[in-house]
Symmetry: D2
Subunit: 235 residues, 4 copies
């Protein structure tokens, strides 16, 4: 985006933030005690160029997610990846629901390399890969049960696309009772403006947008005592 447009957006955010502050919006959600790491739709169809769903800045996103994975794996927290694809993309009995009436999702099929998670952040044994059909990682999936049964209270959210799957996931995480923390450097979209205003809306109304450094600091600070207590509670 041009310097001029970036400045214009920042003026709008600034004016709106003033109004929000006067109203008492944009409080801080804060981190809880038992986080899980969610990695939304970082398949090749999103991380490589020249696809309908290609996103920007994915090298930066992947690098940040790699650091979060290292920290999360050391802590033993639940790690959940999502990808999106369909079993039936023709005819009236499709699992695309109504979404192909807005977006070209009919190319996302099980056998396509587009829906495979980018190997730079490949899932390991003990981690989850949820196949979803709609934008939210919670909608029509077992994500709430999985997180709930594991005693999770905080969802650290990364991935793409901010204006679509990431935002709906954040809104649902909040509604389901999990504190949403969005890692600013680890999310992206197909177009630049959408990242800016969606993170602005999220940080004001739904969850906290935090830096990668802050989140890595939080994960590093999860003391063995809390993790063991959590393990005992869950046994």
């Amino acid at each position: 985006m041009s310097r001029e447009i970036i400045e214009a957006l920042e003026r709008v955010f600034s004016a709106e933030s003033e109004i929000y502050r006067n109203r008492g919006f944009g409080r801080r959600m804060g981190f809880g005690q038992h986080p899980a790491l969610l990695i939304i739709d970082l398949g090749y169809g999103w991380t490589r160029p020249d696809n309908p769903f290609s996103c920007e800045d994915t090298d930066r996103i992947i690098a940040g997610v790699q650091e979060l994975l290292a920290a999360g794996r050391r802590c033993g927290i639940p790690i959940v990846y999502t990808t999106t694809y369909y079993q039936v993309t023709e005819g009236p009995n499709t699992d695309m629901g109504l979404w192909h009436r807005k977006l070209p999702i009919e190319g996302l099929t099980a056998d396509s390399e587009d829906v495979e998670i980018d190997e730079r952040i490949a899932p390991r044994a003990g981690e989850h890969l949820i196949v979803k059909k709609m934008a939210s990682a919670f909608h029509g999936t077992n994500l709430t049960s999985l997180l709930n049964a594991a005693g999770v209270d905080t969802a650290i959210i990364t991935g793409v696309a901010v204006a679509g799957c990431v935002r709906h996931t954040v809104e649902d995480a909040l509604a389901e009772g999990f504190r949403p923390i969005v890692v600013g450097e680890c999310v992206g979209d197909h177009v630049p403006g959408a990242v800016a205003w969606n993170l602005f809306d999220i940080d004001t109304r739904f969850g906290d947008v935090e830096s990668l450094q802050t989140v890595l600091g939080y994960l590093g600070g999860l003391a063995p005592a809390e993790r063991e207590l959590a393990a005992i509670e869950r046994s």
Copy 2:
């Protein structure tokens, strides 16, 4: 079950039916205009003997489902199979939720032949296979969206086990707004008594238990006009 016990159960059902009739329970749900066929958990772990989840009378169930599949495929109605399995069966971050604390589900893994749909009723292209984690075919799955977007108003339910997955699926189908029709000869369980009293409870409170003949008659009677109108509406 012994003749004596069958007669005792029938006496209980008869006495309870009397009470229900006086109260106005057990009305008939009736068939709608746009059915879908649901086939719950007829994988080898359920249809073959000597497994933890082996069910009784599965040859009869499979034969009936084959007839329903033929009729349903001629009509072009949505056909949805479910199977149940888990990605992580050890440690605190499992997708088994809490259910392994009641049942030996840790054996249901993706690579096990137990979770493959019995080849006698193998799914075809254009049909759906939903992997669920809990009892209900609706819980944590995209089933409602799929049926809703296809304009379905009636769920024809077959499979196993009546006291578990089938019953919870029936209760959820009703709650979600789909008329549940359970095909009496096409459901079963691990133990006999459970079939009798669960079908009795279902027929009184949640959905209609109908014979295979009745349901085949209904599917055969779906006139081309309705199917074409449905197809136009959905375009």
Copy 3:
């Protein structure tokens, strides 16, 4: 029920329990650390006689729930009552969904005394009254969010009717990730047999049926330390 029928049912349960034991069913769920008390549909339409939904043994149920309320209130655990009623009971745009096609629910309206919670267990400030439309206390309600945000891991379930709302609530509690504990003396139904076989099914597959004494002992044993830790965690 006659002595003869009770004995017949017990023989069936005994035979089925043998099969379940060999299969490894009926494990114990166990209590968690953070319970909530759920009181299902104990409105006058259920606790008084001569109504379509009148249940048996409600004096015993109410007495037990009073003891659980006293213990739960001392602990400061979340307490949630449900009642069931409809805003529109005529015409095609009803919130009865499809359920009036099975049961006479059209009498359950907001202004009816039938849907008021029995005053012997009246809710207090700080407690919740959820109005539901379907059988499960979780379906179409905010119950999961409420329990999840409060860090609850165990649902102590009481109320009516076992074959309907209580059972569907138990199945959904499990699926949502809350350990279901059903208090045996504090549940009931419109007909006797339904209590026996539904508690049997629940205890085998979904949750633990425990005695009132056991549950009161568990609540009494929730040490101040756990409750304070929970309060700190939730701040």
Copy 4:
């Protein structure tokens, strides 16, 4: 917003639309056959000034909703209002979930005039008022069951606030299988920029933003034949 900022936003939208067109985004969802009218959170706390949730342009929104109500009532389509309020706003056992950690929702209580629907669009008998706890009209409510059982395929969405409750409702409507149509003149927010970019995101990815005139034309064109057929189907 200043002319300069409006122009800057329009340049961003224009540039992004170009990218979306090349990718095949922003297809038209189109109207279905069986609509319902949803009116989100037009209570006094939103339509009057000087409240934390006061929105802009509510006179224009109310006037448009009045016209939609007249048309919808003539058609006999389902009409659903929402409002948002809480039973317990203090302590750890609140039904505010986690949302008070972002927004000042603790003022939204049952007895506050803020949560009453603005009398200029007061609900009538036969219409629904859903009390929700979270942003989406679908989350934790009976809305899907209600619409599904009535055979609805299209959700005409109006109300506030676009960046919060309206957008989450649109995303969930799509996910649940209902075509979302947002009436452009009949939605608003607490701040102006948020309306512009959220409608832009919605129209690209989730639903169709249509003018009041277009939607009134659609409702007026629902021929008696379709409405009667729908009534027969639902009987």
